[in-house]
Symmetry: C2
C-alpha cells in the first residue's frame, strides 16, 4: 500500500471506490485472500500512466485475467481503472455446494 | 479486418476463438451491432505487442470498458487476449422487459 495515495479513486467493475481504506478493504484485501497465483501478460507505461494486463489464479476461479490502468502523481497511484470479468466469480458463488 | 491474421487466436471471457471467421462472427460482428460509442483510455505497445484499454457505450450496457493485449506478427494480429466484464451484459439479458 506504499504506492497508494490516501485519496485514490478506483473505478472497478462493481463501481467506484474512493480513498485508500475503501481500496484496501473493498477490493485489494478480499482479493488477496483468494489469490493463489499471478502472471504478468504485458506491462507498459510512461511518466504518469501504467497499463498492465495479467492473469490470476484464485480459489473460486482458475483463470481470472484483469487489466489496470493507473495514474501516478508524485510517486503515488491516484487513480486506477480496473477491468475484469465478474461473471465466473458470480457463477462460482451461485454454484451448488 | 485487414489487420487480422487468418489464423488469429483470441482468448475472450467466454472462451477461445480460433480463426478470422470465428473472430468476426463470434465476437467482432455482434459487438459492433450494439456499439454506440468508444473512447480510448490508454494505448501502449512495442514492435510485437499492443496493450489498450478503452471504454465503450453499448445499447444494453452504458459503460463497458475493455482491455486487449494483441500480438502482431508480420503486420497482422495473430493473438488477442481480451478482458471485459460480462456481468452487466448478463444482467441486461436477464432483466425483465
Amino acid at each position: 500500500m506504499n504506492y497508494i495515495a490516501d485519496d485514490i479513486v478506483c473505478d472497478t467493475p462493481g463501481g467506484r471506490l474512493e480513498g485508500a481504506d475503501a481500496y484496501r478493504g473493498g477490493f485489494l484485501g478480499p482479493f488477496v485472500q483468494i489469490l493463489t497465483g499471478a502472471q504478468m501478460i504485458a506491462a507498459f507505461g510512461d511518466d504518469q500512466t501504467a497499463l498492465v494486463m495479467y492473469d490470476t489464479q484464485t480459489v473460486p476461479v482458475k483463470s481470472a485475467p484483469g487489466a489496470e490502468c493507473v495514474t501516478v502523481t508524485d510517486g503515488k497511484i491516484t487513480y486506477s481503472r480496473f477491468v475484469f470479468d465478474r461473471a465466473p466469480f458470480e457463477a462460482a458463488r451461485n454454484a451448488p455446494t
